[in-house]
Amino acid sequence: MRKRAIILNTAIAFGFLIVILRLADIMILNHERLYARAKMQQLKGEDVQVRRGIIFDRHGREMAVNLELESLYCNPAEIASVEKSAYVLSGITGKPLQAILTKLNSGGHFVWIDRKLEPEVARKVKETKIKGLGFVQDAKRFYPKGQLASHILGFVDIDNKGLEGVELKYHNALSTSGRKVLLSRDASGKTLSQGVDIESTGNNLVLTIDEGLQYIVEAELDRAMEKWRAAAAAAIMMDPHTGEILALANRPSFNPNYLSGSRNFERRNRAITDYYEPGSTFKIIIGAAALEEKEVSLDTPFDCSRGAIEVGRRIMHDANKHGLLTFKEVIQKSSNVGSVMVGMKLGKERIYRYAKAFGFGEKTGIDLPGEVSGLIRPPERWSGVSIGSVAIGQEVAVTPLQVLRAYSAIANRGLLVTPHVVSRVVSPEGKTLRTFTGETKRVLSQKTAETFKDILKTVTEEGGTARSAAVSGNKVAGKTGTAQMMDPSTKRYSTEKYISSFVGFVPADNPKIALIVVIYEPRGHIYGGVVAAPVFKKIAENALSYLDVPREDGPGDMLVVSR
């Protein structure tokens, strides 16, 4: 009996010894190696979901947001019946059968089948329960206002990389770098909370654009395009005191939500990437320069009775014979003959100097990609005709934004502003990280700017070229432009293709908005005063109403009743 007890005790002790030795092996001798292996099984590397920041208009309305969708991938090695699966997937996703078959037969362990599926499509795919398919959360950029402000916002590619507009220019601010986080999981693959955020969002942008004003501008451009059966159109509205772009639109346009359906020329931001010969809107340069240099006064007479003037080997005409005009009337009636005479008084050096001072031939510095600088040749490269041509806005190439900026300097008492479309960069938590305020530089004395503004006011009055730009209740200061387009085949000015424009600001004595409207190749009429000025008037009236700017023709001490 005692002998059996000794044997049993020895066996138990031996058993315990084996267990203790194994534990020592696991916990002490091979601890590091086994700990690492266990961790590899327990931890799962997960990509942090990267999301772009939201883009807001100046009043906090969302202009670009993210949709949370799912992307479908497959592990081809796990697909049991390739043909059948491809047929089912093709039917649900709408992708060509052959394309899906190629992906399923491609080998490897990961192939995208379709990115960013609509929720309904993703649900149908899940219901098929095809083995080897998987889903990944994915964000799709969505522009809730459709084509509104599409040339400002731009667009992104399938991987949410900015390709155009603000999306491209501020890609680094809007996006954030991706990284991996390690999450614990159990034997069944369920993850345990590690208290880490697996989503990382970029900074938000607050634009200077006002959705309401943008809508007004785009609606009127659409009407103008239809009315004049024009090839294209562009309009920019700016705060002349700060350079904040309130609205910027081009036609034709595109919807960034359906990018594949758009064409290159629709995506072009003509307002800053296309230059044109401005025509009479460029007379601001010779007019302002002549006043600043005291070469003329308001009443200086110019004999325009011949209706034509010879410069070099070219004869320049007025649309109508005007007779004797004062300097003020030369601008008001947009006399080419009078403008050439003023230009000759100034000389090419001073014209060039003032054109450069007003920002022509240089980029305005707007924070949008693709801006061109335009062209104005230095005086030493001018021909004998150039002084006459430049005086009436030919032989120079400008963008609509450059012209608007120059007129804003008149509205802003001689100070040239830097246009910009982004006002703030804000962190996801709402903290302002950066604010943008455009730089200003003086290009004219305050007195000259005020005087020239008074001349521009007469353009929309009786006797001016743009009475159709006059806004009921508020004075408008502005200038028409009608420019012939160069025919690339003949390399001469076309007699059929014109660019009609009107640029100005309102209310003239306390400007709230500066606006340019450019209509390319209108049909039926060509003059800026007929084609572009009424568009300016309509936009300005709606914008002033939207901004609650009171009329100036009522009795004093009045307040507008808010809507």
Binding site: N66, K145, S193, E211, Y215, L544, L559, V560, V561
Partner: protein, 120 residues
């Protein structure tokens, strides 16, 4: 009770007590560990639910922004409700004795006196 008797009582108690404490300790550690894991599961599930709700919130935000677009609002206002964009010529101007913002709704900051100012 003699000293010898007392010592034998203590030695008799100490072993079961030690074993009881040891078992309680081991059980306590296992119980805590199990609870900790259970809480982690719960938090993980709640985090997943939170992520789902946030995703839904983002989708709803996009839908709201789309519905609030000027184009859709104008369409609803003009076609469905028969409203018109205010004509500047018809905007009413009122005389104001005291400076401040006047509301067309007669919503006033100082009650009756201010309404009198409107009709003055």
């Amino acid at each position: 009770m003699t000293n010898l008797h007392r010592r034998s009582m203590v030695s008799y108690m100490i072993t079961p007590l030690f074993i009881t404490f040891l078992l309680c300790g081991i059980f306590g550690i296992v119980w805590l560990r199990s609870n900790f894991t259970s809480v982690e599961y719960t938090i993980s599930e709640l985090e997943n639910k939170k992520a789902d709700r946030l995703r839904e919130a983002k989708m709803l935000l996009a839908e709201k922004a789309s519905l609030m677009s000027m184009h859709k609002m104008e369409k609803t206002a003009v076609r469905d409700l028969g409203l018109v964009f205010p004509d500047r010529k018809k905007v009413m101007y009122v005389k104001e004795k005291n400076p401040g913002i006047q509301k067309a709704s007669l919503e006033t900051s100082s009650g009756w006196d201010r309404r009198k100012a409107v009709v003055d």
